[in-house]
Each structure stands twice: as structure tokens, then as C-alpha cells.
């Protein structure tokens, strides 16, 4: 019998751009939605279509997600659109690692490591939660019915993978959710 409760997969490099600016400005909203091809996210939320998306990071920060080969073109597009405004767009793709945790018990695995409430009443598809996973900062969102996607800093990717694999041992399932 397998000892793996959920499938933990370290994703291939993914395109990510940090966009800092006035999120209430229509110019920025337009630049972001044009670049990602999705609607503008509300506070604490994310919007995805396929591999592209926008995540609300803070009142003045968005994370633009895209396929890895579109980083430069997307960055150029944003730079061009916001040229005359006060903003900062930076490629952070290599600064991050991305994991998917797949299986009906993904909430049980996350709940061992994060103080965030991941109960289905509190955390659903569309939510983008920045929080703590054991001792490091992470963000995660539910990417499908039985998958949660999590990003962390690249330097601690091995630590995060270790945490997830350890928490994902079938024999330690809390089976709470």
C-alpha cells in the first residue's frame, strides 16, 4: 500500500511577474488584464484561465502568471502600457518554486502546516491566500476540485517539498476535512 496521501509535484518553471502600482488605477487594471487575459482579481482573490492569471498580493501588488516562454513579451507589454505612470514590474519567475498538491486530502495536508483556515467553507476556488507554511512564507490557491497550487521562494523549495511529503504520508492522515 502506498504511503502517499496526496501527489506532490514540483512544477516546471512558471512565468511570474510582480507588478507594483496603484491597483485602483484603470490604466494599471487594463494593463494587467490585457497582459494576463483574465479579469481583474478582487482583494484576496485570483483569476485564472489556463496557464495565465492574476493574483491579488497586496493593495499595491499583483502577481501576473503566465507560461514561462511568455515572460519577456508580457513584461514588455506591461512596460509599454504603463510607460508614463509610476509602477514597477519585475520578473520573479526564477525567485519562486511552485508545487501542486493533488488528491482529496490536500486540505488535511495543508492544515498540518499553515495557520490559515483551509476549511471548504472558508477557502475555495478563487481565493488566494498568502500565509505561512511551517517556518516560511507561501501563497496558495485551489486550482481544481482536488488540487491546490502553492508557491514559495526558490531557496526553500527543498524544505517546502520536505514539509509537504512529510505531512502527506498516508499514515499520518488526520482525515479532518
Amino acid at each position: 500500500m502506498s504511503d502517499i496521501l496526496v501527489k506532490i509535484h514540483r512544477a516546471a518553471p512558471y512565468g511570474m511577474i510582480t507588478l507594483r502600482g496603484d491597483l485602483s488605477s484603470t490604466a494599471l487594471q487594463k494593463a494587467a488584464t490585457d497582459a494576463a487575459g483574465v479579469a481583474f482579481p478582487e482583494t484576496g482573490m485570483c483569476v485564472f484561465e489556463g496557464k495565465s492569471g492574476l493574483s491579488w498580493m497586496s493593495p499595491d501588488e499583483l502577481l501576473v502568471l503566465m507560461p514561462h516562454d511568455q515572460i519577456q513579451s508580457t513584461l514588455a507589454q506591461i512596460e509599454k502600457a504603463l510607460n508614463s505612470t509610476h509602477f514597477l514590474a519585475a520578473d520573479v519567475s526564477d525567485a519562486r518554486a511552485m508545487f501542486t498538491i493533488t488528491g482529496p486530502h490536500w486540505r488535511d495536508v495543508l492544515a498540518k502546516l499553515t495557520p490559515a483556515d483551509v476549511h471548504p467553507d472558508s477557502f475555495q476556488q478563487g481565493h488566494f491566500r498568502r500565509t505561512r507554511l511551517a517556518q516560511v512564507p507561501v501563497a496558495f490557491w485551489q486550482s481544481s476540485a482536488d488540487t491546490v497550487t502553492l508557491i514559495c521562494f526558490r531557496s526553500v523549495a527543498d524544505y517546502v517539498e520536505g514539509l509537504l511529503v512529510n505531512a502527506g504520508r498516508a499514515k499520518s492522515n488526520a482525515d479532518y476535512f
Binding site: T18, D60, A111, P115, S155, N166, Y176
Partner: protein
């Protein structure tokens, strides 16, 4: 002697025998036994020795409150001391050993202390071990250390795993007795998210043992039915073997789940620490029976009446053929009935109340049991086992009226609600004169973030003592919790409890009430710590009026049980001695944990490779493959050096330094902080952050800058590159990246929020490789792709381009004094560039170098290092960095502080170089001594070493240090005493030892 009964026990599976050992002797129990019940079933009434007098100790209780039956469990990686036998479920192969005795449990030399009891009164240790002072270290402390402690500390690494679980619920119900279950049913019906936890393996609490009916059903049947209903509700989670450990601020609760203690062969975590956030908490934690204070109440075989009932009913254990019951209330009569039902003898019930009890007493009398009213126990015969009791008048002084032979004594001094969890977070208590106990003061509950109460007591924990009240209280608590959690309660029919009406109890704090000192000397309050009635009275007499002081002075209520049995009795004795009311004296503070929890559970997953995050650069693996000796720098691991076969670390460092100075060195500098600062106000912002002027920097150029706190002290340094008019890239120290980014954000968000500046921490986006040495340019030119000549890319300039086909940004900055290029590359390409440089560099003598070689080279150049030359009290002026402090700027962080009198004091120690006379290396942290001594008789000091290394370049020890008037004392000799008593002497020199003109880096 205690033994197993032929009948069934509620918790026992008699078809499944289990073998275990106690002190090496193999014994048999059944599935469902606790270690305590199994030991009693095997006639093992003596289970341990007390802390101070090494008195024989037997099982007293049947649950978490047990003070005596503490054992060492398991061995090696699964060894655990101080485990309570009463909460340890037996399993096949369990190994237990008794504690605190030598050479054996039966014959213990330490028991001599008991003979000396009159010389070991309360506060003995404080009184005895003070004088003469010198005795403390060599005689008293070793003696105390040898005799201190009950169990042994484990030596082996814990073989089990542990984890944590964060649960967020509307309502947490602590306690799975009938009150908790009634509350759960009520809360569950409303649709609230509910978690119900029960510290034992069994639901239903005491009700099934104590009798009565619920909705006309036997309590066992009702519990089973209710559990089935609860299990069907998706919004309810039931957690058995999970103790409510503590209630903290804002509805935070720790739950301690014991997953595999009873099945140690099962894979998976042993304990799970639940970190629960609840909107409302119901504490249905029950009540604990109190012992009675009579002489000899600690002899093995004297037990709580309720515990004896539990052993008979739940575990089919007889405490002995003949049990005398002594009580001040009706409840203990239930024990008499249980014993009679089991076919055992009850020679007498000794009831301290002159009128005796009510209906329960009548039932007992009807069974032919002799009931003595207005009587007490004047003494217990027997040493390691009860042999009989001496009867006296409760009202008198203890004249023996008769002796009754017996094997066990069941005592009941009344019941105390378990108010611990209610009290942890500030819940207050009320004294109930009639029931003689503290119960929660509902009007003064713990309050949460909204200022409203968040804890609701229910059942016996709330002072309800009849089944009907317990159930009604449970339902009411459930309703109230639902309402307060902001949900709509659904009405449910309150389960109807029916039990015998009880006559009032009568407080009995001493038996008999007029006992003389001889008897009081043998009345144990705290069994674990050997505190007697006489000790508490002595403490009061000596002026320890506060209950908290009395606790510390006498040790009453200390150690693993924290006085669950003894506190109220002790408090009553203290109150009497002080001639004060009990509520006036008050209780000691209830603090978590309710009972001790494992260290492993607290650590959770944070052990071994998950103990803390280790940050790895994109080139980490190469370093590992190439023999790097690692140095932790913050959470990062950086290569200290790369020792080759047979090389010491010092040899490796010297080789790396020499090779870098003569040929070509590569350093993984990826850990350096890289923060982008952009916006129309970015220049002004950085002028505030750095002590020097940054806004005048030209795009394409780099400048070294210093940062100070508002206190004026240096907090970081690094090179700033101007990318374009609006954009800067700030390099920070390795340890400073997150801190300095947070520092920038703090000032932007909280002080200058109208400034147009954005920051992004790009530290991890890039790998950074320092290509250093006379051959640095050659290797880059060989790889090709961009012009790295002095003309195009001079010292302190940067340029974007390609090296070997990889997009890079190259900074001409040097921390070694050599020709140096720091090359930033996307992290994903970092390893590829490193590999390319290693390969292309072969013909130029390339070698990687580590952090120690970096340190040696920067010290040779007189460059300061944050954390070496600075320690949070050093200002740039101390380090001769006046040139990096702008005089043109009106303001910068730390500027006002630099004007303070202490900062401009000419007596501040200042940075100099130190050259040892004999060429040796000054020890790290050494102080330069001056004439005379200070008030402690220590030699005065006039400076200290901040960095000290062997310089393979100069072939001698070099150092930097802060010295009084240092820069004015060039050439003077200083003495640095070493710990071996000798001294090393050094000459004050310029801190720049190597290439003072900077010719080598600017080529």
C-alpha cells in the same frame, strides 16, 4: 490484596489477553486495561515511591489526576518518564518500571528520609542549604541533584514522529462526558462547525459508572445512541484520546491527541498537537474527587471512592476483599453499592456527617452494610498495604473507638469541578459554601477579541452534581455557544436525567477535626511531593500567607500533577491556619498544560532535516558535489571552503586566497540581497536610507553605501547600482536582504507614504557569481559576448550583456581588492554560467573560494563586515568611514543620532589594523588590556579585536579592532591576554594591509 474479578468490565475485552512487564516481571492484562488497572489486577498495589520521603505509594485515582502511579515506560528511543499508569493503555509488550527508588521498589534506602521526617519540614531545603555558602557548590547542590526528580531523563533520540494540525471551528467542546455530548448534540443540530474532544479513549465520562437513567435509558445506552447521532453529522468531528491542554487568548486552544501510545507498532505520528481556533469553547471537563485528610491516608490501598468504583465497574478489578468507605457526602455510597454488586465486602461506611446521608445511605444499609455516622478515621494500619483502619469520633481528637480490619479504603472528601481550562485565559471562580468547591463565575468569563465571553462551562465542571442538571447544563451551553458564535440555535429536547437525590455534604478538611500534631504529621495533602497538613500549617505560622508563596515554600501542588487532588484541601488547611475564608485566600494560578504533554508534540514536524528551513542557492548542488564545507549564514548554507584530499580547512582557505590573488577565484555570491527601488522619489528615498549621497549616482555606475538605524548604529552596507533615472538596485548583506527590504517598506508605508517609490526584493531571482583575480577578465573574454574591458566597463560601473550566450548583468565591484566582476544571472541560469566559468577557467587556474577566503581577503583590504566590525553599537564614524557620510544632506536615518554627545565622544573606540609582533593570530574576540583594574578586579581594557585571520598573502596574523584613540596611536604595542594565561602583543597599524592604493582592483 487487589485482584481481577470474574465478572466483565465495561472497558475490558476479556477474550484478548495482553502480556506486559513491570520492573521486569511479566504480567497479564486484558485489552482495554490501563496500566493501573492491570497492575491492580495483578495484586501490584505498591507502584512507586514518593519524592521526598520515598514513602510507598499505590494507585489513588483512575484518571489524569493520579499523583502516585508514575512510571518509566518503554526503552531507548521510546523511553518516557513520569507516565501516569492510570492514563496509559496497556498493549502487548509494554514495559514499565517504577521510579524514585533504590535499590528496589520493595526495599528503598531513601525511605530513611521518612524516619527523618521531623527534620525535613516545609521549607527544609531553603532553611538547610543556605549556610555555609561554600557548601552550596560542592555538597548541597550535588546532593539535591542526586535526589531531585522522579523519572529519569531520556537519553536516546526520540524514535517516534509527531505532527501538528490547525483546526478552525465555530464551537469546540472539551470533554466527552454526557454534558459534553449533550452540548455537542445541540451545537451540531445548528449546523455549526463543531469539534468535540475527549481525553480518554471512552465517551460518556462518569455517568455510566455512577448510574441513573437518561431519557429512561441506561447512561451507556444513551451515550451509544448519542454518539451514533453525532457521527452522522458532517459538521461534527469527534476526537477521542485528545486532551484540551490549554485555552489561550482569542479562542486559541491546544489539543493533545495521543494517536499510537496504545498501539506503538502502528505506523504514523505518535502524538498530534492540535492548534485550534474556536469562536466559542464549552468546557465540559468534569470534576475530580478530593481525598480526605486522615492519618495514614497515603498507605497503598487507600484510594478515591470513585476510582475504586471505576476499577470495579470498568476494569473488573477488586481493590481488596474488604473495603472500608470513608466519606463526607452521599456519592461515596455508590462505591459501596458497586462493591456489593461485585460480591465484595464493605465492613463499614464511615460517614463524618453526624446525621449521615440520604437515600443512597439507606440503599447501602438495606444491603446489610454497617454505617457509622459522625465518625472518622484516626489511623491506617499497614505499611505497604492497608491492613485496617482505626475509627474515631470526627468531632474529637482521635481516640480510637475500634479497629476494623480491611484491605482497602475508599475515601471521598467531595468533588471539585475541573476549572483549569476555564481559568487559563482569565475565567474567574466562585466559592460554593454548600458544596465546598470552586466553580466558574459565569459573569466573569474569559473574553475574546470582541470583548465578549468565549468560554462556557457545562456539567460537573460548572458545579452541577446531579445527572439532570449536568444534561440540562450541557444543552444550555450548546445553545449559548451557537448563539454567541453568531449562528441560529435549533431547539432540541433536553435529555432527561434521573438520579437519586443526595443529602448535603459536609466539608471535612481534617479527620478528626481536633487531630493533634502527631496525627497531622501523617495526613498527606500532596502525595507526589510529600506535603502534609502539618507542613501547610507550619508555612502559615512562618508567615507564608499567600497561597502562591505557600505553594513554593511547601511544594504543595507542584510537579507533574500540579495538585489536582491536593490544592483545595491544602487551601482549606491554609485558610484555617490563617483564620481566613477560603475564597479570601484564593487558589494558585491555573496554567497550561492541564497535564504534561510530550516535547515531541510541541516540536511537531520541526526536527532533523525539517528542523528549520535551509536556503539553497542555485549553485548549492555543485558546491555539495565538490566537497564544500558548509557554513550556516542565516538560514542559508554557504561554502566556507572546499577542502581537497588531506587538506585542513585552514590549508584550503590559504590555497583559495592565494589562488584568487594570483590566478582566478569564483565565489557564489547569490545570497547577497538585491532590492530594486523605483520611482520618481527613489533617489530622495535612498538618500534618506543611506548615510551617503545616492541620488547623484549616474546611471550605469555603482556606489558603496552605509545604512544606519535611527539610533545611528550601522545596520547594513552594500553597493547601489543606478539602473536608470528612476531605478536603483541596492545590494545588501546576505543576512540583511529580508530585513532591509522590510526596513524600506516600513519607512515607505509608515512615514513617507506620499513618496512615489516601489520596491521589490529580487534576491532570489538572480544567481550572482564573483569572478575574481588577475585572470578574471581573461576568462570572461574567452567566454565572450560583451566588452568587459577597463574602458567600456571601468571599476564601479555595471553593464547588461551576454557572457557565453547567457544574459547577464555585470558589476565591476570588488570585495577582495582584486580585479573583480560580479555577474548577476537569472537563477535558473546560475548553474550553467558557473559551469561555463569553471570549464573556461581551467587554463587560468580557476578555483572556487568560500566565505572564509572572502573574509581573509576583505580583512587584508581593511574592508569592514557587518556583524564583525559592527555589533549594534558601532557607528560609521567609529570605523573611519567618515567619507561615506554625506555632509551635504539635511537628513538621513541616523543623522540626528550621530549628533548625540555619546556619538561624538572622542573617547569612542575606533578602527585600526593590528599586526602581531610574533606573526601569530590573535584569538577571536580578544581584548586589549590597559593599566589598573575595574571595580570587579578585572584588568581595564582599551580595545577589542573585531576580525582576526591568518593572512596567507602577508604570511602573518592580521586583525582589525576597535581601540581607544586608535588612529592616533599608530605603532603602539597592545597586549591581548589569551585564555591560556599568556598574551599576544600587536602593533597598531593602518587597517589596509594590502594594496592600499587600490591599484589591483582598478585595472
Amino acid at each position: 490484596m487487589s485482584t481481577r474479578l470474574a465478572r466483565d468490565g465495561r472497558f475490558l475485552n476479556k477474550s484478548k489477553a495482553i502480556k506486559f512487564t513491570f520492573n521486569g516481571k511479566q504480567l497479564r492484562g486484558f485489552e482495554g486495561d490501563t496500566l493501573a488497572s492491570a497492575l491492580l489486577a495483578n495484586g501490584q498495589t505498591l507502584v512507586g515511591r514518593s519524592f521526598k520521603y520515598h514513602r510507598p505509594r499505590g494507585v489513588v485515582a483512575s484518571g489524569a489526576e493520579e499523583p502516585n502511579a508514575l512510571v518509566n515506560l518503554g526503552a531507548e528511543g521510546r523511553f518516557e518518564p513520569n507516565a501516569r499508569a492510570t492514563t496509559t493503555e496497556v498493549f502487548e509488550g509494554l514495559k514499565a518500571a517504577s521510579q524514585n527508588h533504590w535499590p528496589s521498589l520493595d526495599f528503598d534506602v531513601g525511605a530513611i528520609n521518612a524516619r527523618l521526617a521531623r527534620f525535613l519540614p516545609a521549607g527544609f531545603y531553603y532553611k538547610m542549604f543556605i549556610h555555609p555558602r561554600p557548601f552550596w557548590k560542592y555538597i548541597y547542590e550535588p546532593f539535591i541533584r542526586q535526589s531531585a526528580g522522579l523519572g529519569k531523563a531520556p537519553k536516546a533520540r526520540d524514535a517516534d514522529t509527531y505532527d501538528h494540525f490547525y483546526a478552525h471551528v465555530d464551537i469546540l467542546i472539551i470533554g466527552g462526558g454526557v454534558a459534553g455530548l449533550a452540548a455537542a448534540l445541540t451545537a451540531g443540530k445548528s449546523g455549526a462547525r463543531v469539534l468535540v474532544i475527549e481525553q480518554t479513549a471512552h465517551w460518556g465520562g462518569r455517568a455510566p459508572v455512577d448510574g441513573g437513567t437518561i431519557d429512561g435509558l441506561d447512561p451507556d445506552e444513551w451515550v451509544k445512541k448519542t454518539l451514533q447521532a453525532l457521527e452522522k453529522m458532517k459538521n461534527i468531528i469527534l476526537g477521542a484520546r485528545m486532551m484540551g491542554t490549554g485555552i489561550y487568548d482569542h479562542g486559541y486552544v491546544l489539543g493533545y491527541e495521543r494517536l499510537t501510545d496504545h498501539t506503538p507498532d502502528q505506523d504514523g505520528p505518535r502524538h498530534r498537537l492540535w492548534r485550534i481556533r474556536a469562536k466559542q469553547i464549552v468546557t465540559a471537563t468534569g470534576a475530580i474527587e478530593r481525598p480526605l485528610s486522615f492519618a495514614g491516608n497515603d498507605v497503598p490501598g487507600v484510594m478515591l471512592a470513585s476510582a475504586i468504583r471505576d476499577y470495579v465497574v470498568n476494569y473488573a478489578v477488586s481493590p481488596g476483599d474488604r473495603t472500608v468507605i470513608v466519606t463526607n457526602n452521599d456519592d461515596a455510597y455508590r462505591t459501596a453499592l458497586a462493591l456489593k454488586d461485585a460480591g465484595l465486602e464493605v465492613p463499614a461506611v464511615v460517614d463524618a456527617r453526624p446525621e449521615g446521608g440520604g437515600a443512597l445511605m439507606q440503599q447501602v444499609k438495606d444491603r446489610g452494610v454497617r454505617v457509622l455516622t459522625g465518625k472518622g478515621i484516626a489511623g491506617v494500619s499497614g505499611g505497604k498495604q492497608v491492613q485496617g483502619v482505626k475509627i474515631c469520633a470526627q468531632a474529637g481528637e482521635g481516640a480510637v473507638l475500634e479497629e476494623i480490619p480491611c484491605d482497602a479504603v475508599a475515601m471521598s472528601g467531595g468533588w471539585s469541578p475541573v476549572v483549569h481550562l476555564w481559568s487559563h485565559c482569565g475565567g474567574k471562580l466562585l466559592w460554593d459554601q454548600e458544596k465546598a468547591h470552586f466553580h466558574p463565575d459565569i459573569g466573569r468569563a474569559p473574553t475574546g477579541a470582541d470583548g465578549e465571553p468565549f468560554v462556557i462551562p457545562a456539567g460537573a465542571a460548572n458545579g452541577s452534581m446531579s445527572l439532570a442538571n449536568v444534561l440540562a447544563g450541557g444543552v444550555a451551553a450548546g445553545q449559548m455557544a451557537v448563539e454567541r458564535a453568531g449562528l441560529k440555535p435549533k431547539r432540541i429536547a433536553t435529555p432527561e436525567g434521573d438520579s437519586v437525590t443526595e443529602a448535603p455534604m459536609q466539608p471535612v478538611w481534617m479527620m478528626p477535626q481536633g487531630a493533634g500534631v502527631k496525627l497531622r504529621n501523617k495526613m498527606w495533602l500532596d502525595y507526589q511531593n510529600d506535603v502534609k497538613v502539618s507542613d501547610v500549617q507550619l508555612a502559615a505560622q512562618e508567615g507564608f500567607e499567600s497561597v502562591e508563596h505557600t505553594k513554593r515554600y511547601t511544594t504543595l501542588g507542584m510537579a507533574t500533577d500540579q495538585g489536582k487532588l491536593s490544592n483545595i484541601n491544602g487551601l482549606a488547611v491554609l485558610s484555617n491556619a490563617l483564620n481566613a475564608d477560603i475564597p479570601q485566600v484564593g487558589t494558585t494560578t491555573f496554567r497550561p498544560p492541564y497535564t504534561p504533554i510530550s516535547m515531541g508534540a510541541i516540536a511537531g514536524e520541526a526536527r532533523a532535516e525539517l528542523f528549520q528551513p535551509i536556503r539553497k542557492t542555485p549553485i548549492h548542488e555543485w558546491h555539495d558535489d565538490n566537497g564544500a564545507y558548509w557554513e550556516p549564514v542565516g538560514h542559508w548554507r554557504r561554502p566556507y571552503c572546499y577542502p581537497r584530499d588531506g587538506e585542513s580547512h585552514a590549508d584550503a582557505v590559504n590555497r583559495e586566497v592565494t589562488n584568487t590573488r594570483e590566478n582566478l577565484g569564483l565565489l557564489d555570491a547569490s545570497t547577497l540581497g538585491k532590492i530594486v527601488v523605483k520611482g520618481p522619489d527613489a533617489g530622495e528615498f535612498l538618500d534618506m536610507l543611506y548615510t551617503n549621497m545616492i541620488s547623484t549616482l549616474k546611471p550605469g555606475r555603482c556606489r558603496y553605501g552605509l545604512m544606519c538605524s535611527e539610533n545611528g548604529f550601522l545596520i547594513d552596507d552594500g553597493v547601489v547600482a543606478r539602473i536608470d533615472d528612476d531605478t536603483f538596485l541596492c545590494h545588501t548583506t546576505t543576512g540583511g536582504a529580508d530585513r532591509i527590504h522590510a526596513h524600506m517598506e516600513e519607512w515607505l508605508q509608515t512615514e513617507w507614504w506620499d513618496w512615489k517609490v516601489w520596491t521589490v526584493n529580487l534576491t532570489e531571482q538572480y544567481a550572482q557569481i564573483a569572478v575574481v583575480g588577475p585572470n578574471a577578465r581573461k576568462v570572461l573574454e574567452k567566454l565572450g559576448g560583451m566588452d568587459v574591458s577597463k574602458d567600456t566597463l571601468p571599476f564601479m560601473a555595471w553593464a547588461d550583456g551576454q557572457i557565453g550566450g547567457i544574459d547577464v548583468r555585470v558589476y565591476r565591484i570588488s570585495f577582495s581588492g582584486e580585479l573583480s566582476y560580479e555577474i548577476a544571472v537569472r537563477a535558473g541560469q546560475g548553474r550553467a554560467l558557473w559551469d561555463a566559468l569553471v570549464e573556461a577557467g581551467q587554463e587560468f587556474g580557476v578555483m572556487p573560494y568560500g566565505t572564509e577566503a572572502l573574509h581573509v581577503m576583505r580583512a587584508e583590504k581593511g574592508f569592514i563586515m557587518i556583524g564583525d566590525e559592527t555589533d549594534g553599537t558601532v557607528i560609521p564614524q567609529d570605523l573611519g568611514l567618515h567619507w561615506a557620510i554625506s555632509k551635504k544632506k539635511d537628513d538621513y536615518l541616523g543623522k540626528r543620532a550621530h549628533e548625540r554627545s555619546h556619538m561624538v565622544d572622542p573617547d569612542r573606540w575606533q578602527l585600526v589594523g593590528l599586526e602581531t609582533i610574533d606573526g601569530s593570530v590573535i584569538p577571536d574576540g580578544a581584548y586589549a588590556v590597559a593599566g589598573g583594574t575595574n571595580e570587579n578586579g578585572q584588568r581595564n581594557v582599551q580595545g577589542r579585536v573585531t576580525s582576526t585571520y591568518y593572512s596567507p598573502t602577508l604570511k602573518r596574523g592580521i586583525a582589525m579592532g576597535l581601540v581607544h584613540n586608535g588612529p592616533d596611536r599608530m605603532g603602539e604595542r597592545l597586549e591581548f591576554p589569551k585564555i591560556d594565561g599568556t598574551s599576544v602583543f600587536a602593533k597598531i597599524v593602518d587597517p589596509v594591509f594590502y594594496d592600499k592604493e587600490g591599484a589591483k582592483q582598478d585595472v
